[in-house]
């Protein structure tokens, strides 16, 4: 469980976590000549398609819609990528599980950090876009790292559960892909929350990702601070997700080496 002694142990393994994350990151871009530009192409293409569709056909009226959309896509991609990569973080490394010992959550943490590095690259593009469209963030940008950390921890919590479950049930990865796809449309990424009738908005906002994305847009693009109650809700749900993730992981972890 997430005890202080376990956190200390993780800290003593920080070199390993970083080294695994960094070598994984390098591997992903090494084989292609254009390197990470390919990975930037993916969200940019998606942005282009969605932007054309939603501004012309659906007639969505949102200020800075390009940035609104790009930020949503990047944040959702982070969740998508982190959790999908993590479903393989245990079963994809049998050597490290069966032949050496270190706390196994290191494999999941380092995978999530790899996803974080990839997302950081996409943020470089986002910053360029902001400059192009002459949108300057205000003081409210201070909430950005806090919210981003919450998202990272939610991804980590989900990844813990998914990576462990996928060792025993190999179809978890496919089921999870479906959930992520449904989630993409159920979360206010393409559209603002205001397209829903006022009465049912709270249902949509039960989803902590909807909260995080909305608040991050507010603080980055619209210079408005998040409601303390919303922030508290996100904090609590992050805590629940990460504890639940670790609980499932710890239950399944002892037999990883046998079941892999």
């Amino acid at each position: 469980m997430l005890t202080s002694s376990h956190l200390q142990e993780l800290w003593s393994y920080r070199d390993l976590i970083i080294r695994l994350a960094w070598s994984d990151f390098k591997l992903r871009y090494k084989s292609s000549a254009l390197g990470f530009f390919w990975s930037l192409l993916d969200p940019l293409l998606m942005l282009l398609v969605l932007y054309v569709v939603f501004t012309n056909l659906m007639r969505i009226q949102v200020e800075h819609y390009q940035l609104f959309l790009l930020l949503g896509i990047i944040l959702w991609n982070f969740l998508d990528r982190g959790t999908s990569m993590s479903t393989w973080s245990i079963i994809g490394k049998p050597g490290l599980v069966q032949k050496v010992y270190f706390p196994r959550d290191i494999l999941v943490i380092s995978t999530c950090i790899t996803a974080l590095m990839m997302t950081a690259l996409e943020f470089v593009v986002f910053v360029i876009f902001m400059a192009v469209f002459r949108v300057m963030p205000g003081m409210t940008i201070v909430y950005f790292p806090i919210l981003f950390m919450f998202e990272f921890l939610i991804i980590l919590g989900l990844s813990m559960a998914l990576s462990a479950l996928n060792v025993y049930f190999r179809d978890v990865q496919f089921i999870w892909r479906l959930i992520v796809q449904v989630g993409f449309f159920a979360t206010p990424i393409l559209y603002p929350l205001t397209i829903f009738p006022e009465k049912i908005r709270w249902i949509v906002m039960l989803n902590p990702m909807a909260q995080i994305i909305t608040m991050m847009r507010d603080c980055t693009l619209y210079r408005s601070s998040p409601e303390p109650s919303n922030l508290a809700y996100v904090a609590v749900s992050t805590l629940v997700v990460i504890l639940l993730g670790y609980f499932i992981f710890d239950r399944l972890e002892p037999k990883f080496a046998e079941a892999i």
Binding site: K93, L96, V100, I175, A257
Partner: protein, 397 residues
């Protein structure tokens, strides 16, 4: 106490039907899945003092590797407990975490980190490691473009940079050529001198005899013996003559072109006896051995010599002798009897050897019975010497 193992049990469940997906599990909820359990370790307990080198031996499937993995914390015991004091490094496989698509230099970094080296230390040693592996020219080559021998060298030279308190070694030495094995032994000697506690799983009994202070013998998951290496090895090598002989019996059945003679004297059996006078087919190099030939003389006969020939596994004739050459007069034979050939020191180092017993007339014109290469025994090395034969010798300086 460096390592303490207390009443350790390990069982693996073997389900009749392996369900690996959620779907299979949901569908299978109607039908309960039956399990059989396979017990790999049964109540193993032992203690290792700091700085000791412990050998772990036993047949394949006796639970050696499982034991090592439990001590390494990779597998969890079903019952019992393991305590290890100090920093432990397992050498269960060389090159764990190697990425074929990264360069040699990057892989040294990854592997050294996996083996628990600090970043500072890695920066210091990387050049030495690559040099020691002889790969300076290939520093920035992708690992997948190296030969497997180069990869092993790289893994080894990285692994030996670790500074453990307790080292677990599983058959790593089995790979690689003689020179590489010698390098391995040099490193283990260095570790021993530094006072590192070593647990060493091996089939190479010669290596175990040279390195290990004490040895644990496992058989079918049970702790058969734990104690002074020489005694435990004797127990292992000689302690299973019964099983050894059954295979010998099966050999004997097939005669045909391997056996000829007029059958006036029939060689009924050949036994190999160890230094304790017990039948067996495995011997330690340089140990005494007695070859006992049982015969049945159909009619009284005096014109006879018994002989043997020893061939190596690949058919080279190594040795032959008979009673005539040794000037042993034989009395008139009648009925059943036996004759012993005493070998003071088995002059072979290792391998399987074939024995052909024969009974012939003194002028070798008549062969009574000749059973060609139908009996065999094995010799197990007790030292690190190389080659086929054992020579008692010593260096003088």
């Amino acid at each position: 106490m460096a390592v303490q193992v207390e009443h350790l049990w390990k069982t693996f469940p073997i389900p009749h039907e392996r369900r690996t997906t959620l779907f299979e599990n949901l569908v299978g909820m109607m039908r309960p899945n039956h399990y059989e359990t396979f017990t790999v370790l049964k109540d193993v307990s032992f203690e290792v003092e700091e700085g000791e080198c412990i050998g772990i031996i036993g047949d394949n499937g006796s639970g050696k590797s499982t034991l090592l993995k439990i001590i390494a914390n990779i597998l969890r015991p079903t019952k019992g407990a393991v305590r290890v004091r100090g920093k432990m490094t397992p050498f269960l496989e060389l090159g764990v975490g190697f990425q074929p698509d990264l360069t040699v230099r990057e892989n040294v970094g990854v592997y050294a980190t996996v083996m628990g080296l600090s970043r500072k230390k890695i920066r210091e040693i990387t050049d030495d490691v690559i040099k020691f592996a002889g790969l300076e020219k290939f520093e920035d080559t992708k690992l997948k473009n190296l030969s497997s021998g180069m990869q092993v060298r790289l893994a080894f030279s990285t692994a030996i940079q670790t500074e453990p308190d307790v080292l677990l070694v599983d058959e790593v030495l089995a790979v690689g050529d003689m020179e590489f094995q010698q390098k391995c032994f040099d490193v283990f000697n260095r570790y021993r001198k530094e006072g590192v506690t070593i647990l060493f799983v091996s089939h190479d009994l010669g290596a175990v005899r040279r390195f290990c202070d004490r040895t644990l013998l496992l058989g079918a998951g049970e702790q058969r013996a734990f104690g002074e290496t020489g005694k435990v090895l004797d127990r292992y090598v000689y302690g299973r003559s019964e099983s050894g002989n059954s295979s010998d019996d099966s050999n004997k059945g097939q005669c045909g072109s391997n056996r000829w003679g007029n059958k006036k004297v029939i060689i009924t059996d050949v036994e190999f006896l160890d230094k304790f006078g017990i039948k067996c087919t495995r011997f330690s190099s340089m140990d005494p051995m007695t070859v006992r030939i049982h015969y049945h003389a159909v009619e009284d006969i005096s014109d006879i010599t018994f002989g043997i020939a020893i061939h190596s596994d690949d058919g080279h004739h190594l040795f032959g002798t008979n009673t005539k050459i040794k000037n042993i007069p034989l009395r008139v034979l009648s009925g059943d009897g036996c004759i012993d050939l005493k070998i003071e020191h088995i002059p072979m180092l290792s391998g399987k050897f074939l024995l052909s017993p024969a009974a012939q007339s003194l002028d070798y014109q008549i062969t009574y019975d000749w059973i060609d290469k139908q009996y065999s025994f094995e010799v197990i090395p007790t030292s690190g010497d190389a080659g086929l034969i054992a020579m008692s010798c010593g260096w003088v300086t």
